[in-house]
């Protein structure tokens, strides 16, 4: 549901939900993106943030040259979204912030 909402936003390449250990629970990606790899990466970063900064719920936005990754820990697992850099990041953030 939440994933569908997110992927409807223009230039969002995909979104998914993963377990704490990086397995995909649910995902929706455009062709060319590997949900499993993304889930694994999201889990790894979340783990790192939690151990380093000692936060209860990790939340990070990562910018690369072309894309932006939103990773957020929620009650259901680790939520991750990949979108192009020129997507409406504010809107994506608002949607991901709604995830509890």
């Amino acid at each position: 549901m939440k994933i569908d909402e997110l992927t409807k936003i223009p230039k969002v390449l995909g979104a998914g939900l993963a377990t704490d250990d990086g397995f995909v629970i649910e995902s929706k990606f455009t062709v060319g993106y590997d949900a499993e790899k993304s889930a694994a990466m999201a889990a790894q970063i979340v783990h790192r943030i939690k151990t380093s900064l000692k936060v209860e719920r990790a939340s990070i936005i990562l910018y690369t040259h072309n894309n932006v990754f939103f990773v957020k820990e929620s009650d259901d697992g680790i939520f991750f979204v990949i979108c192009q850099k020129d997507a409406n990041l504010g809107l994506v953030k608002i949607r991901t912030d709604k995830i509890k």
């Binding site: 790899k37 990466m41 970063i45 690369t64």
Partner: protein, 465 residues
């Protein structure tokens, strides 16, 4: 960590910066190792030689320290730090003449250098503190310290009958001696009766000057500092005693003894200065701080009598602002090591000051720091945090984790990231091999942070490559 980085950057400023960080953390051997390695690739890097000399000095290997500092000073005669540490080294070796020569050189370069002045005062036999003429000139320009001139002044002073023969008065600062500061000022402008110029400024620098003043007194006139007072400008001409308040003793370090005690004290502290990251940035321009010693209450230049300068009450000098001055100086000096030495190359991070300050002025920004991507602190603008080095390491760990993950995903490299915590947000922007981290309150606007950070990033790239 640093091995790779050093391999890459040893030709650049970074190894000296890292070494300085090591020194400030007391890791002298590591610093020496880095500097030697860096210098082997970049043997003309004078700043690194100075830092290496300082490292050996901190390690108490005086001969090695002298060797490197002498080498550095051949290439950069105007280096304040090289001269200062050479002075310390020779002082430790017992070669007072050479030590004095180097301390005086420091004063020539920076007449307001408190530490050098104190060393000179401590080393010189009671009272006679010759001050380099150049210093005087410099003083005039800045109208700051200049306590030394008093010595010369006596000659000029004739205009006013130096009333009292005070002589060694250093300790004895009878009532009226307060005005240490002025002496310098006036001195600057000898002859002309007015001499007033900048009575206010003296405060800080004066301290150091104090001793010198004493010398002047020693020359021959005891008590009558009054003239001096006037000159100093505080009390309008004639009113010599008004300022008596401060007993010269306060600060007065007995020339002889102090020299020892101070020397030690001084010697130790200096190396420490580094602790503060250059910070300082700071290095932050060393020069700036000095220019405006806070205007103290001192009434300005009213004293026409100035010429009497010659008799700057020794004791007073010391009395004046020993504490404040020293503190300020220390701060300045701490950063100085990196900054000052830099003139030849460029002051690392000094150019960051402005954009960083703009960023830090944002209400939601708690602080910022720059670290290498392997977690070593490079520059700290987040003074409140006591665990800054830990935070650096954590941020670098997260960055590296993300970087690896993105490589795995073939997504390229991380440019920046935002971590949201319960009560704060951390914005990290990469700049070559370094990371600029901005710690903000939860309600911050990341976009705004990135806008302000961009300028800083550009500067960092320029500095560190």
């Amino acid at each position: 960590m640093s091995d790779d980085e050093l391999t890459i950057d040893s030709g650049a400023l970074i190894f000296a910066t890292l070494a300085d960080v090591y020194l400030s953390s007391g890791m002298v051997d590591e610093a020496i190792s880095i500097l030697k390695d860096g210098l082997s690739r970049n043997p003309t890097y004078t700043l690194a030689k100075i830092i290496l000399g300082r490292a050996y000095y901190m390690k108490s290997d005086i001969d090695e320290a002298i060797k490197h500092l002498e080498e550095a000073i051949k290439e950069a005669k105007d280096s304040e730090n090289a001269n200062l540490f050479l002075g310390h080294c020779y002082r430790k070796k017992g070669d007072i003449d050479k030590a004095l020569r180097h301390y005086e050189a420091v004063l020539e370069i920076n007449p307001q250098h408190t530490e050098a002045r104190q060393e000179i005062d401590a080393l010189k036999p009671a009272g006679i503190a010759p001050v380099p003429d150049q210093v005087v000139d410099a003083v005039e320009e800045k109208a700051i310290s200049t306590p030394e001139k008093p010595v010369e002044a006596p000659i000029e002073t004739p205009s006013e009958p130096p009333v009292v023969p005070a002589e060694k008065g250093q300790d004895i600062a009878p009532e009226g001696e307060v005005e240490v500061r002025e002496p310098a000022v006036e001195t600057t402008e000898p002859a002309t009766g007015e001499a007033v110029q900048e009575p206010e400024e003296p405060p800080l620098s004066r301290v150091s000057a104090g001793p010198q003043t004493v010398d002047a007194v020693a020359i021959g006139e005891p008590v009558q500092h009054e003239p001096v007072v006037e000159e100093s400008g505080e009390p309008p001409a004639g009113v010599k005693e008004q300022k008596v308040e401060e007993p010269q003793e306060q600060f007065t370090p007995p020339p002889g003894q102090e020299s020892v005690a101070e020397t030690e004290r001084a010697s130790t502290p200096e190396p420490e200065p580094t602790p503060t990251p250059m910070p300082e940035p700071e290095p932050e321009a060393t020069p700036a701080p000095m220019p405006e010693p806070e205007p103290e209450p001192t009434p300005a230049p009213e004293t026409p009598v100035a010429e009497s300068q010659p008799t700057p009450p020794p004791a007073e000098t010391r009395v004046q602002t020993p504490a404040p001055t020293e503190d300020d100086r220390t701060v300045v000096e701490e950063r100085a090591p990196m900054v000052e030495a830099a003139p030849e190359t460029k002051i690392p991070f000094a150019t960051l000051q402005e954009p960083v300050e703009r960023l830090l002025h944002l209400k939601t920004v708690k602080g910022a720091f720059i670290c290498s991507n392997d977690g070593l602190l490079i520059q700290n603008y987040y003074q409140e945090s006591k665990e800054i080095e830990e935070i650096c390491a954590m941020i670098a760990a997260i960055y590296n984790e993300a970087e690896e993950s993105f490589k795995f995903l073939k997504e390229g490299t991380v440019e920046k990231f935002i971590i949201e915590k319960e009560n704060e947000t951390i914005c990290v922007i990469t700049a070559g091999e370094s990371l600029l981290t901005v710690i903000t309150k939860k309600e911050t606007k990341p976009g705004l942070i990135f806008v302000y950070a961009k300028k800083i990033i550009d500067e960092i790239r320029e500095i560190l490559g």
